[in-house]
Amino acid sequence: MRKLRFGILSFAHIHAWSYARVVKELEEAELVAIYDDNPERLKKASETYGVKDTYTDYRELLKRDDIDAVIITSENAKHAELAIAAAEAGKHMIVEKPLATSLEDAERMIRAAEKAGVKLQQAFVMRYHDATVTIKGILERGEIGDVLVITTTNHGKYPGLWFGDPELAGGGAVMDHTVHTADLMRWYTGDEVEEVYAVIGEKIRSELRVEDNALISLKFRKGVIGSIDCSWSRHEGWPIWGDVWLGIIGTEGYIVVDAFRSCINLVVDGKPLTWVYFGSDCDFNMIRDFVRVVEEDKTPRATGYDGYKALEIALAAYESSKKGEPVKLPLR
């Protein structure tokens, strides 16, 4: 079997490490080369995954004919440059979320991929989590009637690194944590958001340069009501990084998804309780599906357009909070 040959463009985003692990694990994939603009991080990744071909210039990596696809896991603001270059080099790609930090960049990325005829898959791993996939089936079969309300949270700890740098991240918790559940709501309803109202709270961590908590209220075109708590509101010592939680009210039932609640309670003497996750490996599912999409020339389950629409909701949340009023979509 021919393996799909991967390059990883940057290990800046924490998810890069998990994706690299998956590419190594997948029989149908191979991790060929890695790039990072941070030599120290590049060295660490090279050693962790045993990848000898390392680059500090992504153009050199993209020149290689023996690489089919790249995973772009740089800082958010650098996605566009890397993705457009990858498309022009004819590489299929998975782009970490959020797709970009502006709708203009997002659109340029989508157009570049279209023009080059390469796949652009948005890394909405939550569309590949076995819990959310199971619920997608239940909703499609109408098992709880029509969906009326979807309440969601994507709580987290403060991720540190560059996530607090407004230039590199494009924002704080709203930019980081709105898109996953916004996308799930779009996926479940098959509908688009019509109106966004959001309030950004005063910082939990006063030293941050970006917001770390916010509340978002959504209305979909066909009337479904949604909400997102995208806050980095988990303090150090909370037993897990955060959550992806959905309460879905239907005309004939109610569903709760607590996607990362499947955990073992673990205590090491003298240290606080931690939760050790044993549930669905959505990163694995996502990259395996990407390989299939490329091999069979299919459309990704989460496309660049899905990334664009979720980003639009996050950007509308910023605008709404600033104006103190609901904001109508589309933004442009």
Partner: protein, 330 residues
């Protein structure tokens, strides 16, 4: 003391009044005679009436506990105060601010105690959460989350009329709003989304979520649902995150007791000898006897009412609503 309104909450209150040392149940009132009679028998109350004015005429009655549907609160409470009775009234205080104002002023003029039964202020986990916030353990509160989910309260069909019960946010989320005001302080503005999403023949909103902005900069998400499927166990959740830490609590994972029976929904709860209703009622009794100010004054309850009414207004107008409210909503 006398209790008016022998429905669900009336029964709960009667059981608690029965246990308060020094208090004596003299009369119960319900417009349905059979219900008044049954309550009198069950709790050993010597008199029962279908007309509340009868207990207002009784000299031996010092306290009146108003447990009637919301739309009758103001009329009954005001009449009781004018008869010189101390009044404990179920939440919401009323449905209109002018009614709340009249209740507050009448109590003052009559020189009687007046408390609104916002029971979360006596509920063990909420009392503990408030203490943790007050002690500064989690620093300055920044973001809170509270919800209360239930099927439609079919046992009280007047809830389907928005002008009688106010809807889910006014009737049920008022608990969370009052608690959050108690723990985090006054509220500056409210944005809410919701409506009549599922319940047939209802003019009252059966689902509402709201984003509250507090004067101290904190924000909160409050969600109230009456559109859970039949048999859904009543569910509450509270989370408060501050600059130094956070707390969460819900009513299921913390239950001390869980009961499974064939053909019946699982029930779970945390029995405590001095439950919230008993503490609430004992507190009001002590306020009367010892001439103390009640935990939830009319003014406090009015502030809470103003917030839930603002949420109704926001749902209907599609815009955030700043407090104070300019006029009536319902």
């Amino acid at each position: 003391m006398a209790l008016i309104g022998c429905g669900f909450i009336g029964g709960v209150h009667l059981g608690s009044w029965k246990r308060v040392k020094g208090a004596k149940l003299v009369a119960v009132v319900d417009i349905i005679e059979g219900r008044a009679k049954r309550a009198a028998e069950e709790y050993g109350v010597p008199n029962y009436f279908t007309d509340y004015s009868k207990v207002l005429e009784m000299k031996e009655v010092d306290i009146v506990d108003v447990c009637t549907p919301t739309y009758t609160h103001a009329e009954i409470a005001v009449a009781a105060m004018k008869s010189g009775k101390h009044v404990m009234c179920e939440k919401p205080i009323a449905l209109r601010l002018r009614e709340a104002d009249e209740m507050i002023q009448t109590a003052k003029k009559a020189g009687v105690k007046f408390m609104v039964a916002h029971c979360l202020r006596f509920w063990p986990e909420y009392v503990a959460a408030k203490r943790i916030v007050d002690e500064g353990t989690i620093g300055e509160p920044r973001i809170a989350r509270a919800y209360r989910l239930s099927p439609f309260p079919e046992w009280a069909p007047w809830h389907k009329d928005r002008r009688l019960g106010g809807g889910v946010f006014v009737d049920m989320s008022i608990h969370d709003v009052d608690f959050l005001r108690w723990a985090l302080g006054d509220i500056e503005s409210v944005y809410a989304r919701g409506g009549v999403l599922k319940t047939r023949d209802s003019t009252a909103h059966d689902y509402t979520h709201a984003i509250l902005k507090f004067k101290n900069g904190a924000i909160a998400y409050v969600e109230g649902s009456w559109i859970q499927p039949p048999g859904f166990p009543f569910t509450t959740y509270l989370e408060i995150v501050g600059t130094k830490g956070m707390l969460t609590v819900d009513n299921h994972s913390t239950s001390a007791v869980r009961i499974f029976r064939p053909g019946a929904p699982t029930t779970d709860f945390t029995p405590v000898e001095e439950d919230a209703y008993y503490k609430e009622i004992k507190h009001f009794y002590e306020c009367v006897v010892e001439d103390k100010e009640p935990m939830v004054t009319g003014e406090e309850a009015r502030k809470t009412l103003e917030v839930v009414l603002a949420a109704v207004k926001s749902v209907e107008e599609g815009k955030p609503v700043k407090l104070p409210l300019g006029g009536e909503v319902l």
